[in-house]
Symmetry: C2
DNA sequence: GAATAATGTTAGTTATTACTAACATATGTA
DNA sequence: TACATATGTTAGTAATAACTAACATTATTC
């Protein structure tokens, strides 16, 4: 089904995201991958190299721009689509994000790549809100709205990650549509 | 100014929250504290014990209940106060939270303690929204609102932590009041 | 079926880490 | 001054981690 390298990379990303780079041993990764430790080194030379390969393999680079090309210019529907898509990006990058959280300042180059996403997304969101303001749909400051929207999205994502450990009775999907509805109503100009 | 134990605990919490338990060495902590490694072991016996002491010392146990005793039953003002206070709790527990994020599944006992906060807070919030619904101020599901509010709060907190690394022009305070305003308007029954 | 490549196994090296023992120094107190 | 206590220093131990070398075994290909 999949190559030896794939098995090792898969095992590495799982363990790195669970415990962090330092706390995981190469022996552990090899065992999880079902290969001998020697095979790991033969393929990846050293642990750090394996980390880089795992990062490159698992980082999901989204095309945010596409999200903003199919707009309906209906506030609630647009925001719901954007929110869902962003949640999807976060979920797809879940392991990378967790891995990074557990290895702060470990490698600035990866951090830079990961920070590109929210920055780019914020700018696109900001432009969207600006256009909506020009159209007279909203009045709030576009940048502030974008940051707020982004922060909430991350909060929802993270909450859903630990949700199983909490005594919450609400699922993520309900939360998202509810949030978008409220947010939309909250920023819409009343007629 | 402060005792040797204090200096060591302070150094420990800083390093643990930056790099995680495993990635930090006792030698490193001793150096950061400006004492010899031997002194560290004389006071704390072993690394894990130091971790526990640091946790106990730095965990800030909030009295959420007090937050809900001085309510004005004005949606926006109440939510603003609650939000600000919760942000304060998160900030005060910042190092503990980061330390925990970097040591997932490290110690279930600490995780349980940390999860108590959002659970308790959610229940109180939920009751608040329920009462507001009874008063005819809002119509939404109280639990959903509470989870959404909580998630956003965490998102705002976390965003503010990494804000300096992002190209955002909006500060946390602006974001909070803006969010509360929008949220309030979004859930209020229009007359 | 032979040659080649990929993997396993085992033993070992080097560096590091948590942690200890023993002794030296400083610092404050009776 | 004398004594006790806190700290520093140095050396060392046991365990573990990353990583290598050498050889055995299996799988793949021609």
């Amino acid at each position: 089904m999949c190559t030896t390298e794939d098995k090792i990379i898969d095992a590495a990303i799982v363990l790195f995201s669970q415990k962090g780079y330092t706390a995981v041993t190469t022996k552990e990764i090899a065992k999880e991958a079902g290969v001998s430790e020697m095979t790991l080194f033969r393929h990846f030379e050293n642990k750090h190299n394996l980390f880089e390969r795992a990062f490159d393999r698992f980082v999901f680079t989204p095309k945010f721009i596409a999200l903003f090309e199919n707009l309906e210019w209906n506030l609630e529907r647009d925001l719901f689509n954007i929110c869902s898509s962003y949640q999807d990006v976060l979920r797809k990058n879940q392991k990378i994000i967790l891995m990074h959280l557990k290895n702060d300042e470990f490698n600035p180059q990866f951090e830079k790549m990961l920070l590109k996403f929210p920055n780019e997304f914020k700018n696109l969101l900001s432009s969207y809100f600006e256009e909506m303001r020009n159209r007279g749909v909203i009045v709030e400051n576009p940048e502030t709205l974008a940051v707020s929207f982004l922060a909430t999205n991350f909060g929802l994502f993270f909450t859903s990650l630990v949700m199983s450990k909490l005594t919450f009775n609400t699922d993520l999907q309900t939360c998202i549509s509810n949030y978008v509805k409220i947010f939309t109503k909250g920023i819409s100009l009343q007629k």
